[in-house]
Each structure stands twice: as C-alpha cells, then as structure tokens.
C-alpha cells in the first residue's frame, strides 16, 4: 500500500527585468509583534492567455489569495469593489483606481497552458508609491503541479512585501491516525503545508512516531515499533525505501533529528532504564555518546549553525530545557518558569526555541530566547505538544489532542506572535508534524 511520491516538478524561475532590484525592495510591512492590521491587497483573476488556461488561472488566483490571507498578515479586497479591470498583463496600472479602494498591494498575473506545460507570469505593485515592487517573474512547470506554482507566486509576494522568506511551497510529514484511543493506527504521511496532496509513506502495521524531515527534504527520520521495540528508520521520500539505524539488542532508539548537513542523526537511546543523547554518522555508522547522566535526556535539536544542542532533561527532578555544545559537555539550563518543559526545537533563524510546556493541568506551545528570556506561551489546551517551525521561522505547527474517551489528535498552526491559530485541514486524525524546507 505504499504510494508513490509525487513526480518531481520541473520548475524554474525567469526574471523579466534585466536590472537587479534597487532600494525599492524595502518591505511594505515589517512583521513584528505589533502588526495587527492586515495589509489590504487586490488580486484580480490572472489572465488566461489561452482557452486551455481559463479554469487553472482561476484556481491559481484563488490559491495565491488563500495563501496570503491565511497568514493573517494580508487581507484580500473582494473583486466586487474593484474600479479598474485588468484586461492585459502588460497594460499600465491605473494606480488611482486601486488607491481609491485602499489596496496597498496589487498582484497581476497571466497563465498559459500548452499540453501539460503551465506558464505563470506575475507582477507585484506597491499601490501607494505607484511602483512595481521588484521584478515581474515567470514560472514554468506542469499542469499537475499548479498548486506549487500558485504557492511560488504567493511566496514571492510574501517575501517582497515583508522582506522575509515565505513558507507556502513546502511540505509537512506527519503521523496520520485512525481508530480508537486504545488501538490507534498510525502511519506516516506527507502533504503540502496546506493539507493538499496527502500521500501515505508507510502502512499501519506498526506504530510510527515523530517523523523529522532532513534539511533538504529528501529523507525522513522516524521511530517505528516494527520490531516491538522503538527503533529509528531513515526513509527516502522519493522512492519510500527505508533503512534502520543500527541499534543493539536491548536498546530503544527514538526522538531522532538530522544534523544540518543531513549526514548525522542525533537521538535518544535507552538502555537499562537510562536515556541519553547520542549522535550517529549515517555514512560510517559510527556513534558518539553526548550525555551520560542517570536522568532522562531526550528530544535533542541542533542550532542552525550546528554548534549547540537544545534538549530536555529531568536531571533537576522535572523536565526542563538545557543547551550543550554539539559534541556534548557542560549543559546550561534555560527554562526556569513554573511547570515542565519538553520537546525543544531550535528556530531556523537561531534566535528562539519553541517548546511544549506542561503546567497546572494544561499544555502550551511556547517560545523563548535561547538564553531562556522572554518566554511567551502561544497556545493553551488539554494537550498541545511537539512544535515544528515553518521554513521562515514565523509560524509553528503542532499536535493538539482532545480530552476524554473519544479524544482525537489534529494539527494546528500559530504565528510566533500567538495570533492566527488555526487547524491544518487534514482528513482524519493527525499528529507529530515536521515542517520541511521551501522546495527548490
């Protein structure tokens, strides 16, 4: 029942303008905790340049709007309020008409379909200053890959308006769940960040937990109970072949993550009631023990520069967060608030650590600076856990389990500001998301 993974898209980007961007790439909005008013944008339906493109141009336009509005940073102005009609991709922009309806951003586009080839052109305008923002772009791909084309347009738009990287053309690997709480079936699945293009990577014959993408998205590490004992598998996303990380009899291995170069795995190994953190080189199979305390050391996550590891330990008596050098050594505790802290994940920007906090019978997803300061709780529920970062470090996805006998798990996303909490639309139960990189 293994599904084949989506065929690789051939997609490339061509800039129209010859000249590089000048100082007009200054962001229209700077994302801070203070941004509460979404930026209004107009997105007239992309021109269908031939009849074969008429439906898909509408679909692409909708998806670009959905991506942008879904961030909570942008608000789409309904087409019914438009004064100007955009009847050609090359016509001059009537800025006054767009100013009159308070559009700050305007996105125009054109779509051509030739057989299975799809060409999307788009331009972005800063209405208030009356200028094109950056360069027009042309994307060439396949009709099957139209969603990715739309996500690319949205990423470029987001990036030019905010000055930060986007996150729409990305995928999430997670655990798809079904069945009752006392016999839950779990299988690995992969999907686009917005829940589309769901595919299963394993069957449900063994419990699988906590998949983690490699830095370039080509492989996934996960924990499997195939043998009856938790063991770490490396799965190739392209051909769904998998390989077990060598583990001695009597040992349990779990909670893996790739190093930033994708060549090593850091993880937890349990033996004789003690759990410590290890690192294994995938090429040589050589492994190194990084902690050696009688307490539980688990959930390691490397800093973006690869020099440090944040992890959780109950060496103080309860679960808390610690940072140590990547090769092991003295660890310093960074969590000091009330309650227990687990599942730390270093942000892609390096400045924050996301975590699960358990306090007074509630679970929270939160972030703190890497020195433990400025702790901020983003969510609160019966059971939230397992944060993962969007590629640009602006959004966190996590699992939320509901209470009681009929409890089920689903995935949510939330901005690191704590705003824009929403469910990720997936059929059935879902847990343990790992957000992959922006696709090339």
């Amino acid at each position: 029942m293994m599904n084949k993974v989506i065929a690789v898209l051939f997609l490339w980007v061509v800039a129209f303008s010859v000249h590089a961007q000048t100082n007009d790439d200054r962001p229209l909005i700077v994302i801070t905790d203070g941004v509460t008013e979404p930026l209004p944008f107009a997105l007239p339906q992309f021109q269908a340049e031939n009849s074969a493109a008429s439906q898909i141009s509408a679909d692409i336009t909708r998806l670009v709007a959905q991506d942008l509005a879904g961030t909570g940073l942008f608000r789409e102005i309904p087409a019914t309020s438009f004064i100007s009609r955009v009847s050609s991709f090359t016509q001059p922009i009537a800025y006054a008409d767009w100013r009159a309806i308070n559009a700050q951003g305007l996105i125009t586009g054109a779509v051509t379909v030739n057989g299975n080839q799809l060409v999307v052109k788009f331009r972005l305008y800063d209405v208030f200053s009356g200028q094109e923002l950056g360069q027009g772009q042309q994307l060439v791909g396949t009709v099957d890959g139209w969603r990715r084309m739309a996500h690319k347009v949205a990423d470029a738009t987001y990036s030019r308006i905010t000055g930060e990287g986007g996150y729409f053309d990305s995928r999430v690997v997670f655990v798809s769940e079904s069945g009752p709480k006392d016999n839950r079936q779990k299988r690995l699945a992969i999907m686009d960040y917005d829940g589309a293009n769901l595919q299963f990577l394993t069957d449900s014959s063994a419990i699988v937990l906590a998949p983690r993408f490699s830095p370039n998205g080509d492989r996934v590490l996960y924990t499997s109970f195939e043998s009856g004992f938790p063991r770490i598998n490396v799965l190739n996303v392209g051909n769904v072949s998998r390989q077990q990380l060598g583990t001695a009899q009597g040992e349990m291995a779990f909670s893996p993550r790739f190093s930033r170069d994708g060549r090593q795995v850091i993880y937890s190994l349990s033996n004789g009631g003690n759990t410590d953190i290890y690192r294994t080189d995938l090429g040589t199979g050589q492994h190194v023990r990084l902690t050696s305390a009688p307490s539980i050391e688990t959930a390691p996550s490397l800093s973006p520069d690869g020099s440090q590891i944040v992890f959780e330990s109950d060496r103080s008596g309860t679960q808390q967060l610690y940072i140590m050098p990547a090769n092991g050594g003295d660890a310093r505790r960074i969590s000091f608030g009330d309650g227990r802290y687990g599942t730390p994940v270093w942000s892609p920007r390096g400045d924050l650590v996301a975590f699960t906090k358990q306090n007074a019978g509630r679970f929270h997803i939160g972030v703190m600076r890497t020195d433990g300061s400025e702790e901020r709780l983003l969510t609160s529920s019966f059971l939230d856990e397992g944060p993962t970062w969007s590629p640009n470090g602006r959004v966190i996805m996590f699992s939320r389990e509901t209470q009681g006998a009929g409890g089920t798990s689903s995935m949510y996303s939330v901005d690191i500001s704590g705003r824009n909490l929403k469910a990720v639309p997936v059929q059935g139960g879902a847990s343990d998301p790992s957000w992959g990189p922006l696709q090339p």
């Binding site: 009752p180 709480k181 016999n183 419990i207 109970f225 938790p230 349990m252 349990s270 688990t298 409890g407």
Partner: protein, 177 residues
C-alpha cells in the same frame, strides 16, 4: 508424541492469552508491531480453565497478575507491585521455557518522547526487581510504548492510574530484536 502435545497446549494457551491480554493489540486491521515481539497472534483459542493450571500463561496473567502500576512520573515499585513481581519471579523460575518482554507504559499527561523514556524506566525497574528475585536477565527484555497504548481511555486519574503500568508479556519462542 509427548512433545507434540505439549507444544499444542502451549500454542492454545498463548492464543488465549492473546485474546484476553489488552496489551496484545492487533487482530482485525491492526497487526501492530508489538505482536512481532510477543509471538502469539490470532487463532481461536479459548481453552477454558487453563487459568487453573499453574504452569499456564493464563495463570500468570490472571492469577499472579501480569502488571504493576506506578504513581505519577515515578518508576518506583510499590509494595503491592512487589508482591505481584515476587509471584512473577517464582513462576518464571518454575517455567524456564518462557521468556518475557516487559512493556512500560505512561498515561497521556506528558510529552511523547519523555513518556517513552519514562516507560523504559518503569519496565527496567520491573526487570531489575525480577532479576533480584532470581530470574536470569537473559530471559527478560524491556520495551516502552510511552503513552501510545492506553488500556483505559478516559482523561481522568481513574484511567491514568491503570495506564501507568509495566506489563510482563510472556513468550515461548526465543526473542529477537
């Protein structure tokens, strides 16, 4: 002939255990990986009265008790637990053909990774106790399901108390991992 009969009885006994031990998930649609470790699966067992046979796994599971429970976030064996494990140790010494995998579990009030480690701690505490009572360590293996396999599904202490457990799961065949 004698060997054959013995093997048949064991097979049926294991099959019965598979039907009554809630930690032996699987069956329809399931066939979870844990079954691979436990050996027995499926067949229509139901040998009534085998719990009266002190050499049967059924007796081990039901009369002695196949599990011990733990307080929140601890792996300390309680006095009640010790009594059960004393019985388990005696049974395992008498029935030397059996091996066991001790499965540690946690309640849902905790993060996934920590609960796996906590379950391992609990299972290992049971293993160490059984070894201290004379069971050869080579016959005992340890695993943890963390919070993945609750037997009680409510989100209250009455259920959590039963889910914080270590279950000694017998197997007749040799263990591989």
């Amino acid at each position: 002939m004698k060997m054959m009969t013995r093997a048949t009885v064991l097979l049926l006994a294991l099959a019965t255990a598979a039907c009554t031990n809630p930690d032996r998930f699987g069956g329809a649609g399931g066939a979870d990986g844990a079954n691979g470790a436990n050996g027995a699966n499926g067949a229509n067992g139901g040998l009534a009265g085998s719990a009266n046979d002190p050499a049967s796994p059924q007796f081990f599971n039901q009369t002695i008790g196949d599990r011990v429970l733990f307080a929140v976030d601890t792996s300390t064996i309680t006095p009640t637990g010790k009594t059960i494990l004393d019985g388990q140790a005696q049974w395992l010494q008498t029935n030397a053909d059996y091996r066991a995998v001790i499965e540690g579990h946690a309640d849902e009030q905790g993060t996934r990774e920590y609960n796996l480690a906590l379950g391992q701690r609990r299972a290992n505490a049971v293993r160490e106790y059984l070894v201290s009572r004379g069971v050869p360590s080579s016959r005992l293996q340890v695993t943890s399901f963390g919070k993945e396999r609750p037997i009680e599904v409510c989100s209250e202490e009455s259920c959590y108390a039963k889910n914080r457990r270590a279950v000694t799961v017998l197997s007749f065949s040799s263990i591989t991992s």
